[in-house]
Symmetry: none
Subunit: 198 residues, 4 copies
DNA sequence: AATGAATGAGACTTCATTCAT
DNA sequence: TATGAATGAAGTCTCATTCAT
């Protein structure tokens, strides 16, 4: 049961996201957001303490569906290697479907002075932990080489997937997602495979 | 022979870079830049059309030393695999020494409306081409697997290195560069190695 | 029903006009305008895109009363000659009461790059058309000589009146308006009179 | 014998004049003047104390030829009426040949705060005195009506000619100068003619 | 729950002028 | 005689936020 309040917030989230993806956080003005959302300026300050809190709430709002997708990817995979592939695939799909959000994640992640920096870092942690667990499991089971650092590898694979995905979306958006996923699969599976067994 | 003009520009570049590293582009004011550079405010506008062009010029100014480092890395490496390692190492060192720059590269690369977007894209191209050439050579020589797309792999490796490096600098800056390089080496060398020979 | 917005705008118009009368357009700063109007600086930019647009709106705002005065002058005059005199008189009074405006009209009319150039040209057209119609009527009725070009004569008389009026206001402001009007009447009525009947 | 100094000054005069005619005094920057003149910025301050003095000198520089033309017009005319016509003609020609200067004369004449206001006023006086003398002579000889104020009529005729000329140049520059002169002749000669004798 | 006019600190930019060469 | 880099006061404009309605 979406209240009137919820509807208004959603419209503001969507407007803010689209604009921030294109022009960055500081490049986007509250005026632009409310114009696109079709609400009055004061409305932002009625619902949130300011622009920063709106973005923070927006991030929180998008977290649940992201997590759900990852959880599902992990649940159906039979082994670590398949899990890793499923995670990459889930990440790619999520980036494709949440292009604006992904851009924001990448372009704002290292901006330490931002108030919602912590929220973004936590989000990144959440995603990476899925990768990390799969890698750890793979090492334990002997299908992944043991001399790699699971947290490091997880964040490296995550980063590789994100940057590849954004390159794909920005520079060659017509390439089918399958090709991209397959290329990443080849690179990643090899990278973590234990000797000679890839 | 450094003219007076050049000296002044250099001082502004250095001030701008240091400040942007800390606070981001929009978070840095012209007032701060000129105060740190020890010049008058008008000087920025005498040499450039504005803050943005100063940054654009700054980027162009730093391109040469970056290229030099990469050229050197390539020149001294005996084979494709070593070249790739040298490139990763060079990239890591460069990121460490040009942290502000690297951040900008990542946070502004997909922001198409910025005036210096083209300059940054060109910079990225330059770097990636070094990776691409090494990978292509490796494939030709049979030391890298032939079913990977050289341009894709190049940009993926570049992206992985950048995000890893920034994670390293932001989240665990005390880790020695050797560890980071070694971890990436393990991941990347494996990733591109042809079957069974890694 | 004057809205809050309208009240604010009116106060800014009045302040701007008074100041520009004294110091010219570029000699008047936004700071001075808002201080005199008793509003905040941002208010100018909330209602207009900038100083120039404020002036443009101001011109449009003053057009109606000017037109009204001319319409009235024309309505009550019984014949072309009296109409012409009434128009000159109306123009003189209007210039005296809108000195700032009149100065602007003259000093900016031939300055084609100003954003509100078109507005001013239209304003001039409006005024001149009243003169033109009266002259045309006079020629048709035979009281004005037929070998003069109505549009040309109209703009010439308008120009003569404006420059005389400004000379009067600037160089001998104590002269009563009646004397000025009478002198112009003698010159203009003669000028357009058909032979021998002046 | 034009010294190097003279040449430089002339080039600055020409550049300044062209620019000020188009954009006004405050709308024209010293940068633009020196760029158009092909000299360095400091050169303006070597020859003059500043932008205002450059304009003042410029005005003085153009005064002599203007006066010469008027003197000649007066010298060759046999009677007051012809003199007046010759003056109008001279004024029109001068405006056509010194379009930029004329614009400046009109658009800056009533700007009382300008430092060179006095110079312009004096210039205007000079021109008007020619008209005034002719009118006075005509009144004395009985060919002009005696109830008009010679100084007033002189400045009114001058103003009418200037505004007509500028309208002509700006709004219908293809009209031959003869037509314009003839129209003004009809208006002015009538205006000042004594009863029934025009 | 929502509005939108108003705010004002602070940002960017302009430009006449100075001065070392 | 001329240059052009450098200046800094003064200006225009932005925009997150407040507040009366």
């Amino acid at each position: 049961m979406a209240t009137r309040s919820d509807t208004t917030k959603t419209r503001m989230y969507e407007a803010a996201l689209a604009l921030i993806a294109e022009k960055g956080f500081s490049g986007t003005t509250v005026d632009e957001i409310v114009e696109r959302a079709g609400v009055a300026k004061g409305t932002v300050y009625y619902h949130f303490t300011g622009k920063a809190e709106l973005v923070e709430a927006l991030i929180a709002d998008r977290l649940a569906p992201l997590e759900a997708r990852f959880r599902e990817a992990v649940a159906t995979a039979p082994d670590p290697r398949t899990t890793l592939e499923a995670l990459v695939r889930a990440e790619l799909e999520w980036i494709r479907d949440n292009r604006a959000f992904s851009k924001m994640l990448v372009t704002e992640l290292w901006r330490e002075e931002r108030v919602w920096h912590d929220t973004l870092v936590a989000l990144r942690r959440t995603i990476i932990e899925y990768f990390e667990r799969a890698i750890r499991d793979g090492i334990a089971e002997g299908v992944f080489r043991s001399d790699i650092d699971a947290p490091f590898a997880a964040s490296a694979l995550f980063g590789m997937t994100v940057t590849s995905a954004l390159d794909w979306l920005v520079f060659s958006p017509t390439t089918p997602i399958e090709s991209v996923a397959e290329q990443i699969r080849r690179l990643t599976s090899m990278a973590v495979a234990s000797d000679g067994k890839a």
